[in-house]
């Protein structure tokens, strides 16, 4: 044994042998009670303040949600909303008004919200062609757009179910009889506008078939400038989602009455989906969501609780 020991000693110097002999220097943290208590306390002391700050941010957001899908169907048609919405001869304009509950600082973001709308369904998500959106006219590579790829033997641009079902309700806002200007530019991701939707690709043969889905597109505007389409094409993760419609770049004061004139074109009645209009300010965190802050506070306080319990247990029955 002594011989081998000596041999080991000799070789201990080289890093390679440290590796092969599995004796590389290592740190071996041990969760001693002190460490455990310190760690849990530390987590608690980080998480609770972060949670409180986050909650404050969330509370600072003012949000107005107005459901309009039922309200905008005239009383006589409420029995059969689907035929109402599908009947092109009936004018679809409608208006609603609401009072601003709190001072809202610009920019105020306008969203439309759809519920029970499965934009994340596999059949739906797959039905698009990124290639076509960027490069335009191309007979090939649009097979993924099934079942909306060609019409009258000519390819549709933009093809696919997503584009075909484009949301087409429109909103105008009036405050104190003056129209509130809605900025509808820059609502889509910059990279989408710049690199995903072609600057020289124009809508073609779109909504020309027997079945008309959602909104139509102005064939003279290139896809990269069709921001409504770009926003819509970003499929939502959940069946209930909001999408950006525009921005009001003026502050709204408390008790301001805002009247919305809207064109209620989009059919959610078939599948009982709700439509809502949302006006919201943002904080550094984004929109209103208390969960994040609450979760932080919860984890932080559980952590502190665990630390306290451990301390007590440790004091009551010390080891060794």
């Amino acid at each position: 044994m002594t011989d081998t020991d000596r041999g080991t000693q000799r070789d201990r110097h080289s890093a390679f042998s440290l590796f092969t002999q599995q004796s590389l220097p290592a740190c071996k943290p041990v969760l001693t009670p002190e460490w455990v208590i310190m760690t849990f306390l530390f987590i608690g002391f980080i998480f609770i303040p972060v949670g409180l700050v986050t909650l404050r941010a969330s509370h600072s957001v003012v949000e107005i949600v107005e459901r309009y899908d039922i309200g905008c169907v005239p009383e006589p048609f409420r029995i059969d909303k689907v035929s109402y919405i599908q009947d092109d001869s009936i004018p679809k304009n409608c208006s609603l008004s609401f009072k601003v509950p709190k001072y809202m600082k610009a920019p105020i973001y306008i969203y439309y919200q759809l519920d029970n709308y499965y934009q994340n369904h596999r059949r739906y998500v797959k039905s698009r062609s990124d290639k076509q959106l960027l490069h335009g006219q191309n007979e090939h590579g649009i097979s993924s757009c099934q079942p909306v790829e060609v019409n009258n033997d000519r390819p549709i641009i933009p093809c696919g179910l997503i584009a075909w079902s484009l949301f087409n309700d429109t909103f105008t806002f009036i405050r104190n009889r003056a129209e509130l200007k809605v900025n509808r530019k820059n609502i889509a991701w910059k990279s989408d506008r710049g690199h995903k939707f072609g600057k020289n690709v124009y809508p073609f043969n779109f909504q020309n078939g027997t079945l008309i889905g959602g909104g139509k597109l102005n064939p003279t505007i290139p896809l990269s400038d069709q921001e409504d389409l770009i926003v819509w094409m970003r499929t939502s993760a959940l069946p209930s989602f909001r999408k950006l419609y525009g921005r009001i770049e003026k502050d709204l004061d408390v008790d301001d009455v805002v009247v919305v004139h809207l064109m209620n074109n989009y059919n959610t009645y078939s599948f009982g989906g709700k439509k809502k209009l949302v006006l919201s300010t943002t904080s550094w965190l984004g929109g209103k969501n208390d969960f994040l802050g609450l979760a932080y506070v919860f984890i932080g306080s559980s952590s502190v609780t665990i630390a306290v319990v451990f301390t007590l247990l440790h004091l009551l029955s010390p080891r060794h």
């Binding site: 044994m1 081998t4 080991t8 070789d11 042998s17 092969t20 002999q21 590389l24 220097p25 290592a26 071996k28 943290p29 041990v30 969760l31 001693t32 455990v36 849990f40 987590i43 972060v50 920019p107 973001y109 369904h121 596999r122 059949r123 998500v125 990124d130 290639k131 960027l134 079942p147 179910l161 991701w189 990279s191 690199h195 079945l211 889905g213 970003r234 939502s236 993760a237 959940l238 069946p239 209930s240 999408k243 950006l244 921005r247 078939s270 599948f271 009982g272 943002t282 904080s283 550094w284 965190l285 984004g286 929109g287 969501n289 969960f291 994040l292 979760a295 932080y296 984890i299 665990i306």
Partner: protein, 1180 residues
């Protein structure tokens, strides 16, 4: 495994032995019949009839160039998991697939490719080995009449070959002639049966003339013989030569892979080539073994498959319902244009086809890279075992070797070790240590057993006076004697001093017996000028060395004579004496004695005999008992010291007496019939009478270095050790004492056979003994009482019968040590199987010789000693070490580590895949069960292969719960393996539960946080890509933090792999986001533009990571503080450096951590202490 028979069948020095050269008449009739159809035209290899015989090319490869791909693929897809993934890969080409085909096929191709590459590399090595063998050169008789060199692969059946000294035989040959006139040659069969002694072969009388190259020009003959078969010790055939038919028996057959020794050259005819040769027919692939952990892993895979099936069913059902009721109203999906898959009219078909989609989507529950990761990890672990310098034997230069890497973790779960004795516990080296000549004992060196005992006594008792000095002095002396086989020290005999002794004549006789009565062959070592001896047994070798050292150098053996050079004579000049050998009566286990009858130079006929003392004592004449009393006393002393003893005797014969006897003997020898053996026996018996006792020898069976210490440690680690030996009971008990397997005060339960003829009676008797033994153990009140079971081979044969074996096992497991002596190789295997199946625990068999092969293959783990004897045991083994003592490190350090590593690794693997896979399932509920994945295909592809694989592999390769030194200091930590603490269902389910919890936390935190509101100050809402990427980030962080918590040993490698995996995810996102959106889709610029500037993204990551690991952290903290396991305590002690500061506590913990054991040093010491205390109490 019947290699034990070899001694009986293949004997050397056949010329003067009576039991050989029996004609094999029995096989003669069947030649030409079924099974005996082979016809070899000697020296006419071109004869067409020989065409169908196989060529001499051997191939041990599993694959060839063409079959590699199909065969290796078949092997790979034999695994259920791989088959499943293959199905997925094929289905991914259809529209049913939720992923792009590449994300299904690439990981599979990677995983399968890696495994196949490993297979291929291994096979390539075998191929190179074969090629080396096939291209060896041998002299073959050619048509021009000379002998030319040919490669082995070109040797054909019927060729006449000439093999020279120290060459291997290229095929199975019929020996025609050798350089010796009588056609004898010597063969070393180490590669066949592991025996190092030489065996003699003898050509037929008829072919003796063919002993020169030129004689073969006209040589023709026809051999008719048996078909290829694996029996090494039989051969049936005949040779038609010059119009006569001669029977061929195994003594004329030279087997491939054996080596020509002590003979200049031989000529032979090739009979069996290549794979027809006996050795190749014999080669069996060692059974592939799988570890317990891996077998259990299969069950977990089945569990996961069931989970997969269940959630797929739920999914399909959900999908079918959605398709039936929701699809018609989802106008935005254009239900009217839907194909069958989405058609609301056929929800059942939709549901069924969705099953395929779901099975693929949730496939992440099954860790695809698990098998390949484990394989890679195990290979690396095996490399560490091979590299371990503390298992490297500096004397022989042989390192430990993991020959298969798939049993590493099994090493950590061993419960019972079954060990061979000779060559494993002992060196198989006999040292001539003491002798008793004419009633006077000679030899002062202590045996190692005495030494070990003295050492222990010195340890036991604190008084260190005498004994310690004894030990020290012995140690010095041990270095003085470099002569192998000779450790004798006594000035009265050495350096010719014996001439001055009063009994010089007896001493000379004694040495003459040693130098003449044997069957060994001398070999001149040209470097030293000394002779070494090729002897049948190491005992015999040590006698010859002793004789040489005492001045009687045996230096030459011819067919009829033995030549001895006497160095010290009265005249002072060395003289050479010739002893004409008249008869040799060989040693057999039944006779237990060996006799030679010689005529010395004066014409005196002497009978020289050596044998077991009891046998010799019975055959002494009245006068011959002169020294009986003294010798018996000395023999008893030697026996107690653990030495092997033999008695030597002689007798002078009158010419007439001899002639009369010899006639009778020759008559018996030439007789044919069943009673031939009995007649020979009688004849021998008649002569070996009226002997005169000269003295006795004592030879030490040397224990290997460090064996007792190693056994002590293994016992402390809670391992049981059984010794299975072919030796006799006395020797086995001696060694048992030497190894501390037995000690004073241990109750020995000896089970022996009564010797009755009636089988039934014998059985009942043995059964009674076993029952008595059990009763005895039951009635024992002393908790410290220990029992040892000793049983011999014959008894074992009964005890292993079906109706008794469980009872026997019941007794054996109750005993602290079990020693089985006189067991055959087959019984070794049977005992191993009994222990393995009877107790259901992991067994490890360790041995060195061919007779251990069965046991090594049968046990869960076979360990071969790569030492002196052949490679047979090593070839059959799973691990090989060069010394028994390395077993301690192999098991206690490497076994323990590997077990924990693999167990933790597998648990983590399942955890991570459950945590990941289930998030996909939850998301389904939010997509109408459509099979849409929340993650990008590329994320998923990288998940198993890049983002989570390296940390878990570094866990599997480098994790150490405690350092190797601590493992050795606290052998009890090893018990975590046999008790399977780290891979029981409790733990596995715990990890699965943790995975489930983790998946729930991550999924719901993410979907609630990234709900409908804006997730950035700029007002954008989260889409599918944002949610998927954020969720995936949380998973990468959580899983990698989780593994960091699992580890307890961080070198830079762990830091790099864990940190690197997390970093790799961000780097990937950057690169992927920078690619053209045609490739990256919605993930284009996602990190830079959308996520990184959003504080919510980072906050979510932190929240999910902490929330996922918090429960686990609380759990381990609680466990460590309030229910600590052994390694926790040790880690903590080490951490606080208590071992340095508080010696007392350190020792206390150490002694606490020992397993209760009844064998080994420590147990002996404890027993002694109890004894002393009891005595003290009595006094008071």
């Amino acid at each position: 495994m019947a290699r034990g028979r070899i001694r009986a069948k293949l004997r050397k020095s056949h010329l003067y032995s009576f039991c050989l050269f029996r004609s094999s008449g029995s096989g003669g009739q069947s030649i030409g019949g079924p099974g005996f159809s082979r016809t070899v035209y000697c020296n006419e290899p071109q004869v067409l009839n020989q065409k169908p015989y196989r060529s001499n090319i051997i191939s041990t490869t599993k694959y060839n160039f063409f079959s590699f791909l199909p065969k290796a693929l078949y092997e790979q897809f034999h695994r259920v998991a791989n088959l499943y993934f293959l199905g997925c890969a094929i289905a991914s080409l259809t529209p049913l697939s939720p992923f792009s085909p590449v994300s299904m096929i690439a990981p599979l191709a990677f995983v399968v490719g890696l495994s196949m590459a490993k297979e291929g590399l291994e096979d390539w090595r075998r191929f190179m080995q074969d090629r080396e063998v096939n291209s060896r050169k041998v002299h073959v008789h050619n048509e021009e009449g000379g002998f030319g060199k040919k490669t082995w692969e070109d040797v054909r059946v019927g060729d006449v070959v000439k093999v020279e000294k120290d060459q291997f035989f290229p095929a199975d040959l019929l020996l025609l002639s050798s350089n010796y006139e009588d056609g004898i040659c010597y063969v070393e069969t180490m590669n066949l049966d592991g025996e190092t002694n030489l065996k003699a072969k003898k050509a037929l009388e008829a072919t003796l003339g063919l002993d020169e190259d030129d004689n073969f020009n006209n040589f023709k003959g026809i051999i008719k013989c048996e078909d290829p078969n694996p029996s090494l010790y039989t051969f049936v055939g005949n040779l038609e030569y010059e119009g006569k038919v001669y029977a061929i028996d195994p003594t004329q057959i030279l087997l491939r892979d054996s080596k020509l020794r002590n003979t200049e050259f031989v000529y032979g005819v090739v009979i069996f080539t290549g794979h027809d040769s006996k050795v190749m027919q014999n080669s069996t692939r060692s059974p592939s073994k799988r570890s317990r952990v891996e077998k259990k892993m299969d069950y977990i895979i089945y569990v996961l498959f069931s989970v997969l099936l269940v959630i797929s069913l739920i999914s399909s059902f959900g999908f079918a319902v959605e398709i039936k009721y929701s699809m018609p109203v989802w106008w935005f999906m254009r239900p009217q244009d839907a194909d069958e898959y989405y058609s609301p009219k056929k929800p059942v078909i939709s549901g069924l086809s969705h099953m395929v989609t779901a099975l693929m989507l949730y496939g992440y529950l099954i860790p695809i890279s698990l098998y390949v990761s484990i394989e890679v990890v195990k290979v690396l672990q095996a490399t560490f075992i091979n590299q371990d310098i503390q298992m490297y034997d500096e004397d022989t230069g042989i390192p430990a070797q993991a020959r298969t890497s798939n049993l590493n973790e099994e090493l950590g779960q061993v419960d019972t070790i079954l060990s061979d004795k000779t060559g494993t516990l002992t060196c198989n080296q006999m040292d001539f240590l003491k002798c008793s000549i004419a009633g006077i004992p000679y030899g002062v060196s202590p045996s190692e057993v005495e030494l070990a005992a003295a050492q222990q006594m010195a340890n036991d008792q604190e008084d260190q006076g005498e004994l310690k000095t004894l030990v020290a002095s012995k140690k010095e002396k041990a270095h003085k004697s470099p002569i192998k086989g000779f450790n004798f020290e006594d000035n009265r005999l050495m350096n010719g001093n014996w001439l001055k002794e009063p009994t010089a004549a007896r001493i000379m006789l004694f040495c003459q017996i040693l130098a003449v009565c044997h069957t060994a062959i001398p070999e001149l070592n040209e470097e030293t000028g000394n002779y070494t001896y090729e002897a049948e047994s190491p005992d015999e070798g040590s006698f010859l060395v002793a004789a040489r050292e005492l001045g009687f150098e045996f230096f030459q053996r011819t067919q009829s004579s033995v030549f001895v050079r006497e160095k010290y004579t009265a005249s002072g000049k060395p003289i050479e004496r010739e002893y004409k050998i008249l008869n040799v009566l060989e040693f057999t286990s039944k006779r237990k004695r060996m006799t030679v009858i010689v005529r010395d130079e004066e014409g005196q006929i002497l009978l020289l005999c050596k044998g077991a003392d009891s046998i010799i004592f019975d055959r002494l004449s009245k006068d011959g008992k002169l020294y009986l009393e003294d010798t018996t006393r000395h023999l008893n002393d030697y026996g107690e010291a653990g030495l092997r003893t033999l008695a030597l005797a002689y007798r002078k014969l009158e010419e007439s007496e001899y002639t009369a006897w010899n006639n009778e003997f020759q008559k018996a020898k030439t007789s044919i019939g069943a009673d031939r053996d009995a007649m020979l026996e009688n004849a021998a018996d008649m002569m070996e009478r009226d002997l005169f006792l000269v003295g006795a020898t004592a030879v030490e069976d040397k224990l290997q270095k460090g064996v007792p210490q190693c056994i002590d440690k293994l016992a402390q680690a809670g391992l049981k050790l059984w010794v299975l030996t072919g030796d006799k009971m006395e020797t086995a008990i001696n060694i048992g004492f030497a190894c501390s397997l037995l000690r004073q005060g241990m109750k020995q339960i000896c089970i022996t056979e009564s010797g009755s003829e009636d089988k039934q009676e014998v059985k009942e008797d043995i059964l009674k003994q076993i029952t008595n033994g059990l009763e005895m153990i039951k009635q024992e009140n002393d908790p410290h009482a220990a029992f040892a079971l000793i049983i011999d081979g014959k008894t074992l044969a009964y005890a292993l019968e079906d109706d008794m074996k469980l009872k026997f096992l019941g007794l054996a497991v109750e005993c602290a040590s079990v020693i089985c002596c006189r067991v055959s190789p087959k019984q070794k295997a049977l005992v191993t199987r009994l222990v393995k199946q009877g107790t259901g625990k992991t067994t490890l068999a360790i041995g060195d010789g061919a007779n251990d092969v069965g046991m090594i293959q049968e046990a869960d783990i076979g360990v071969g000693i790569s030492g002196v004897e052949g490679m047979q045991a090593v070839m059959a083994s799973d691990f090989s070490v060069s010394q028994f003592r390395f077993l301690e490190r192999l098991l206690v350090v490497h076994g323990h580590w590997c077990y924990k590593r693999i167990a933790q690794m597998i648990c983590y693997f399942f955890y991570k895949n459950i945590a990941f896979g289930l998030t996909l399932f939850y998301f389904e509920a939010f997509t109408g069960f459509s099979g849409q994945s929340v993650y990008d295909d590329w994320y998923m592809l990288l998940f198993n292969v890049v983002l989570t694989s390296l940390p878990v592999m570094s866990l599997g390769v480098f994790e150490q719960d405690v350092s190797s030194e601590v493992c050795l200091e606290f052998p009890a930590v090893y018990q975590q393996g046999p008790r399977n603490l780290f891979f029981d269902w409790y733990r596995i389910l715990g990890w699965m539960g943790n995975g489930l919890l983790c998946s729930l936390i991550i999924f719901f935190i993410n979907i609630i946080i990234l709900y409908d509101q804006a997730f950035r100050a700029e007002g954008q809402t989260a889409d599918l890509a944002v949610l998927g990427t954020t969720m995936f980030t949380c998973i990468v962080w959580s899983l990698n933090c989780q593994i960091a918590l699992t580890m307890s040993h961080f070198t830079w490698i762990q830091h790099v792999t864990i940190g690197g995996s997390i970093a790799a995810w961000y780097i990937f996102l950057l690169i992927y986001g920078a690619l053209s959106p045609r490739i990256s889709g919605d993930a284009y610029q996602i990190l830079v533009e959308a996520l990184a500037p959003a504080p919510i993204y980072w906050q979510t990551t932190l929240l999910a990571t902490i929330a996922c690991t918090l429960p686990y952290m609380a759990h381990i903290a609680y466990q460590r503080c309030f229910e600590p396991e052994d390694h926790h305590i040790i880690q903590e002690i080490k951490y606080y450096r208590k071992d340095v500061e508080d010696q007392h506590m350190w020792t206390r913990e150490r002694s606490k951590a020992r397993q209760k054991t009844k064998i080994g040093f420590t147990a002996r010491v404890d027993a002694k202490i109890r004894q002393v205390r009891a005595k003290l109490n009595k006094k008071q």
